[in-house]
């Protein structure tokens, strides 16, 4: 039984059609990340799941129960907002206790649950403080604590790490993964950062302009992107797209399927080749970025298509140099004229 089912969800705000026919299944205990560029409708979709907005058409099912008409609070979801939305005039304890007070729990029960959540998130010392007296990371944890205390079926996160600085973001990512493991609950996480998606998710849902482009595990999205959008969105640095007109002589040895229009190769998958080998690509180096243990070599092919190569080690190439490159067949992706992936027979 899927914990969450979305069927044919459509959403329009006045004349703007924001979400088109979204279907999604989320299993119990999964960590699902909705990722996509700004304006793709991921936050709107999250709000529809939460019940804060209702879909123009389509159904939302939670635990095999149609919840379109069920209020947000009664759906058993808890949401962590991008701006945390902590009640500024209440203490941390009161913030976390508010939900339980509203459903009429006893004082002792509330105390027990709040202290439990506080100890999971290491907020014990902060219970008497006001949100304005906390740092960003601490506020983040209070917002999460407020959600945990309600013991929901579904955790919803709306870009929770986007207000934190880079270093804190990395440590909070680990903490959230840890939390998921400990609680074993189902979490739906919205972000525009594909690194967060790749590092945290069991399933990634890539959205563009209100449509699901691909659903799959991080490995599936990385190794078998369904179209050029997903291929270019996932993975950093961005995948190189080479039009078929740029293919060198002998590149047909790679057995391109019929209808191939574009080839995709990730910068980290290029390999050094001998110039005289068949099917090698010749690249003129234009700049080299030294990244520490790696180097990002930017240049162009004879037809002036720009490509990037991510190489290991210290830079030993010079500007203007000609590099010979090759790529394994399994790591070269073929896309047709519409940008869809073409399956290739493995060599």
């Amino acid at each position: 039984m899927s914990l969450l089912k979305l069927r044919a969800i459509d959403k329009s705000f006045d004349q703007t059609h924001v979400i088109h026919g979204v279907n999604l299944d989320v299993q119990q205990g999964e960590f699902v990340v909705l990722v996509g560029p700004s304006g793709c409708g991921k936050s709107t979709l999250l709000r529809i799941i939460a019940g804060l907005d209702s879909p123009t058409s389509g159904d939302v099912w939670i635990e095999d129960q149609r919840v379109n008409d069920v209020s947000a609070a009664d759906r058993g979801c808890a949401m962590v907002f991008q701006s945390y939305a902590l009640y500024p005039h209440m203490s941390v304890y009161a913030n976390m206790a508010f939900a339980l007070e509203n459903i009429g729990e006893s004082r002792s029960e509330i105390e027990r649950k709040v202290r439990e959540a506080a100890s999971i998130l290491k907020l014990d010392a902060l219970l008497d403080r006001r949100p304005t007296q906390l740092s960003g990371g601490q506020r983040q944890r209070v917002a999460i604590g407020r959600a945990i205390v309600r013991n929901p079926k579904l955790f919803l996160f709306d870009e929770p790490l986007s207000n934190l600085d880079a270093e804190l973001r990395v440590s909070m990512r680990a903490e959230l993964r840890d939390l998921h493991r400990r609680l074993g609950s189902t979490m739906i996480y919205v972000t525009h950062d594909q690194v967060e998606a790749m590092s945290m998710a069991d399933q990634i849902v890539v959205l563009r302009a209100g449509r699901i482009e691909q659903v799959g595990s991080p490995q599936a999205l990385y190794n078998q992107p369904a179209n050029t959008f997903v291929a270019g969105f996932i993975g950093s640095p961005r995948m190189n797209f080479i039009p078929i007109s740029s293919f060198p002589e002998g590149a047909n040895a790679l057995n391109w399927p019929v209808g191939t229009h574009t080839m995709g190769v990730r910068p980290e998958h290029w390999e050094q080749a001998q110039a005289q080998d068949q099917g090698t690509w010749s690249m003129t180096v234009q700049s080299v970025e030294y990244l520490g243990g790696q180097q990002l070599i930017q240049g162009h092919l004879p037809c002036h298509t720009r490509i990037e190569v991510l190489g290991a080690g210290e830079p030993r190439v010079h500007i203007g140099e000609q590099l010979s490159l090759q790529v394994k067949a399994s790591q070269a992706h073929a896309f047709d004229a519409q940008g869809f992936r073409l399956p290739r027979s493995l060599l």
Binding site: A50, L52, S71, A72, A73, D74, C77, A78, M79, F81, S83, A85, L86, Y87, P88, H89, F98, A99, N102, I103, R146, R150
Partner: protein, 348 residues
């Protein structure tokens, strides 16, 4: 209030000329604005006779009087300058026209006729507390004070409650006609109160609230200014807070009572101060609603005290001082909230 602000000067050790100018200017302002109030307070302690004295004095002086044997009432003392004699204190028995009949207290049996120009009243500093005491004892002043306080306090509480509810609905809910309702409320500000005076009276009469304090409280509870002020402040409360509260199983009433209202405290303080000011000084509405003496507010009592032919100024002044006190105290203690409330409304 920051006391160090009072001693800020431009010059470091010696006063700069602009400092002198500033202080002079401030002093002139202080005297001009505060002087009459101080005069009022001092005059309220003068007896009626002292009020009529010319030239007027700042401090309350009352004429000394002495009990002289052979007379029941204490007789007023005068300093008499008679030709050829040293000035001496004499008590006046009576006065007819320009001649006063006076006795020397040492010789109570001997009366002397003294022209009134030759006598000067002997005065002493005396605070006529009787002015205030009589108000509560002889006149029903305690009742008037209670009426005013009751109306002000209850009306302010009701105003805060209802205006904040309206402002909450207008700022945080989307519904058809929202803009129209808001425009309607604001447009009532354009109507002068005198135009609706007669209809208001008819409505209060029809509701049976004439000659009742509730007839003064209820009609003016919903103020467009209050709704506007609170709505503008509530717009700055993030909607996400309400959404988070909804997800926390809070009913709409709880969201209003426990989230929005506490967060609107600065704006509520401002409205409370305005409301206290309006209600305490309100004259027109109580005038048309209340005609029975026991329901009069302080303002009506002050007005009623001015008779057509005769006004007892000493009682009037004492009453005025008492009427000024509560609002002054409210302001003195809450002025901090006015500035922070209005300032925060802009910053947040």
């Amino acid at each position: 209030m920051n006391m160090s602000m009072l001693s800020v000067t431009r010059g470091r050790k010696r006063l700069h000329w602009t400092d002198v100018l500033s202080y002079v200017y401030l002093l002139v302002g202080l005297i001009t604005l505060f002087g009459p109030v101080l005069w009022l307070v001092m005059s309220s302690f003068k007896t009626e006779a002292a009020l009529g004295m010319y030239p007027p004095s700042f401090l309350p002086y009352a004429q000394k009087s002495l009990v002289v044997t052979g007379h029941d009432q204490p007789l007023p003392l005068f300093l008499v300058h008679q030709d050829g004699q040293a000035p001496r204190a004499m008590a006046q028995v009576g006065r007819i026209g320009l001649m006063a009949t006076m006795v020397d207290p040492a010789q109570p049996d001997v009366t002397v006729q003294v022209p009134i120009q030759q006598r000067i009243p002997i005065t002493e500093l005396a605070f006529a507390w009787g002015n205030y005491a009589d108000l509560f004892q002889k006149f029903n002043f305690g009742r008037f004070l209670w009426n005013s306080v009751f109306i002000t306090v209850v009306a302010t509480l009701l105003t805060l409650l209802f205006n904040s509810m309206a402002a909450f609905a207008l700022s945080k809910y989307q519904f058809k006609g929202r803009k129209a309702v808001f425009m309607l409320i604001i447009s009532t500000l354009m109507i002068p109160p005198t135009i609706i005076l007669v209809p208001v009276f008819l409505v209060i009469n029809g509701a049976g609230l004439l000659n009742s304090l509730w007839g003064v409280i209820l009609p003016a509870v919903a103020t467009p200014t209050g709704v506007f002020l609170l709505r503008q402040y509530m717009l700055s409360i993030p909607d996400e807070l309400l959404e988070a509260a909804r997800m926390d199983h809070a009913s709409e009433w709880r969201i209003y009572w426990r989230i929005v209202l506490p967060l609107s405290a600065p704006a509520l303080a401002v409205l409370a101060i305005f409301s206290v000011m309006w209600r305490w000084n309100d004259f027109l509405l109580p005038l048309i609603v209340l005609s029975r003496n026991e329901f009069f507010t302080l303002q009506l009592a002050l007005n009623a005290f001015q008779g057509e032919l005769n006004t007892q100024w000493n009682y009037l002044l004492a009453m005025t001082v008492i009427t000024l006190l509560p609002v002054t105290l409210v302001f003195a203690f809450l002025q901090r909230h006015i500035t922070t409330g209005i300032a925060n409304a802009g910053v947040k």
